[in-house]
Symmetry: C2
Subunit: 463 residues, 2 copies
């Protein structure tokens, strides 16, 4: 294989441009492109324009910011030879909210270098990884190496709110975006220096449960004991979602869950992983979960039911003796193949409504959902990724199941009839969706090198 | 009895001064004397000075604002004859917080007359009722009728935060405040035009439960299923506090609860009360509570365990897939004779710590507590109150158990060896501790007349 043929000039050029790359990534991270909160709509649009401008600046032939009913999608392509393999790069420039903002050691939108990391909201999920693709393309074009494959990019702004407008966009542009493989860098690695390819993703069903008791808040003395308390009722409903073994009690919940294969178990045994290191990373006093499964099984192969948020009554300083009128919880379920998010949302709703105690009114509102996914790692794009990772990191990649969700992955497979490669560079503890999100800068540069080499490997393996 | 002897001049004078009284009550209600939130400390002090000024203005002989380690206590006395009976009037000028402030139809500290009511925080709990005592005293002094008994007043500013400094103050001033009966107007009536005397109060144990899972918020995909979720754990803890019959499961919780006597049941049957009217007042779809008890029994004779507030994770707009680091609930128990609040707080703490699942750290923090109380209605002060209520309202008072708590009532009994009379004028639905608190203005004026007549009745019954 010729993956190393381009080394000298590429590696030297990448090395010479490290500081500039980091500064430019910081410029992208500075934009508060929070898609879940409507007051940031302008910043989201500004971020789309910034991504497009960055792509134009490095010489990508066609770049367009496409308006949708929601946030714009950045679409670009660089066609070198219609008979060469075509990669479609997908990423997202929108980010999660920053609450609780007081727990950030540096402001979420003032990217800060500390201890070999850059801290900012979106550093790893996903603006930092989108930026790695832009810099890898720049490296090929700026050094004169050029691209041995065609590259198309779709960078959206609604991933954190369920990619609302992406499906219609992909369907309407299926021909223009036709490709031989889809590459997504929005996942993680098992450890620093451990190149990793994710072969599975969990799906998602995200629900809100609203419990209404009395019409307004009541005095807990004058009414307590004779009026059903919606917060107590909500606690009962939530507690009733799992049994003593940590198994979800919703009827039918596990019906479509695949058994874990012997090959999967064997692969998991060989992964560089320790429960104690994982526990230490979380800071939890001990790990826990569904009885009868290991941590890696719980994360990769088993569905969950987690409260994401819960609110009722008086939560300020001091003691207020109120019997609250209402209580609310956000509850989401991570799903595994072959669970169907719409079916799970329906089963959840039916179960919660049936288990609601008398004396309160319960409403269940679904948020966006997403399908679980498992890869076929025998596709040649996986070999190409393996070649590039080995060349950049110096060791063979490991294959693992990601616990998180990227709901649109199955959509790409269906739309383009092409395999999806999850080539992610986030390290454990990156705090995505949490305060103090960071990207490891060594890994960031190795990732850029990986992607810059990957084009050659694709040309060789898939050409 | 001569309770009616003073009628003509008193009733006419009261009638002539109705508008002025209401305006002066509004002046008192305008001060945001919230004792549970430290930013209102200055307003609390201002309110104490206002109460003292109002007492001086009507000619009360000795008025003092006594500093404490917390909020000041207004102390006053008007001694007419050391050999006459002495009443000690207790009330509080501090109020509850106003959250959720957006649910108020008029601002909580801009007293507003609507539909024969005055709406404001503290209108009925307890500044409005304190004001009734001041106006009743004014009526006696301004008309030249004078007082046939000695009157002392203790109006504190920490009732809503557990009367932290009152006990030490009473102990240190037991001789100066010596009395034959204590009168407290901080309770309610069973209905408009139904004069009522509360013969029981529930006690209180108020706890905060803090559950810590991981050190910081985690991504619910990358960690969900393998890390115990503190919000789910808190829901389990709360749900585990009661069984399917609504009975509290804390071992020993009911050990000291008195059985309901036949006399109490007979009295309850005769009260002007309907479940449907009570339910309609709450706006709840139906009533509910501990199996095997009526609503009045649940309110007056049975303890409770209610969530007052609950908070975890992301509670804003949209969907954030976070596995929260911590979860918190405020949980209070209303207690009945002879439950001991300190013992209940200890039993609660032990039970919660024992029922906490592995994988999280649970901390239980007690807030202030209070003893339950039951009166001995054969004391002559009850006859005096009955005389005055009948004269002012035109019907005999009913006796009932109040579901709320006034933790310092037992303290007054112990300190002064004197009976406590709960002479309250709040109507059902007054929204105390809730948005849109109000006082009924007809009842307000009848209450002033009741108190102004009560002095004569006390002189006759206890003199």
């Amino acid at each position: 294989m010729n993956t190393n043929a381009t080394d000298p000039s590429l590696v030297a050029w990448l090395s010479d441009n490290r500081d500039r790359f980091e500064q430019e990534m910081a410029d992208l991270l500075r934009i508060p492109s929070i898609s879940t909160e409507s007051e940031y709509t302008e910043s989201v649009a500004e971020c789309a324009e910034k991504v497009a401008a960055d792509l134009r600046a490095i010489g990508i032939a066609e770049v367009e910011v496409v308006a949708t009913d929601g946030n714009p999608i950045v679409v670009a392509q660089h066609i070198v030879d219609p008979s060469s393999p075509t990669l479609l790069i997908y990423g997202h420039y929108d980010v999660q909210p920053v609450d609780p903002v007081e727990l950030w050691d540096s402001p979420p939108f003032e990217p800060t270098r500390r201890d070999g990391r850059m801290y900012a909201r979106g550093a790893i999920d996903d603006k930092g990884q989108v930026h790695m693709h832009i810099k890898a393309l720049e490296a090929r074009l700026a050094t004169g190496l050029g691209l041995p494959v065609n590259v198309k990019l779709v960078i959206e702004g609604e991933e954190e709110v369920g990619s609302t407008n992406l499906e219609a966009f992909l369907a309407a542009n299926a021909e223009r975006l036709a490709c031989d493989a889809v590459v997504v860098s929005d996942t993680g690695m098992l450890g620093k220096g451990v190149p990793s390819i994710a072969t599975g993703l969990r799906g998602l069903a995200y629900m809100e449960v609203h419990v209404q008791g009395p019409a307004g808040d009541l005095h807990s003395g004058g009414f307590g004991g004779a009026v059903v308390n919606p917060a107590n009722a909500l606690a009962e409903i939530i507690a009733g979602l799992k049994d003593g073994d940590g198994r979800v009690t919703i009827p039918g919940f596990y019906d479509r869950v695949r058994d874990i294969s012997d090959a999967d178990r064997l692969n998991m045994e060989q992964l560089p992983y320790s429960d104690e290191a994982f526990r230490a990373e979380t800071g939890a006093p001990e790990l826990g979960g569904e009885a009868g499964f290991t941590t890696l099984e719980r994360l990769g192969f088993r569905p969950t039911c987690d409260v994401n948020g819960m609110l009722s009554g008086f939560t300020g300083e001091g003691a207020k003796t109120v019997l609250p009128a209402k209580a609310m919880a956000k509850i989401s379920m991570r799903l595994v193949p072959d669970q169907d998010p719409d079916e799970i949302a329906r089963l959840f709703t039916e179960h919660v409504l049936q288990s609601a105690p008398a004396g309160v009114t319960v409403e269940v509102r679904p948020h966006h959902g997403g399908w679980p996914w498992a890869a076929n790692p025998s596709d040649p794009v996986f070999d190409a990724a393996s070649d590039a990772l080995q060349a950049a990191f110096g060791s063979e990649p490991v294959y693992f199941r990601e616990g998180g969700s990227i709901p649109i992955i199955p959509l790409f497979e269906q739309t383009f009839g092409a395999p999806v490669l999850l080539l992610g560079f986030g390290l454990p503890g990156s705090n995505l969706h949490a305060p103090n999100e960071w990207i490891d800068l060594d890994t960031y540069h190795q990732g850029i090198e990986t992607i810059a080499r990957f084009y050659d490997a694709v040309a060789e393996r898939m050409g």
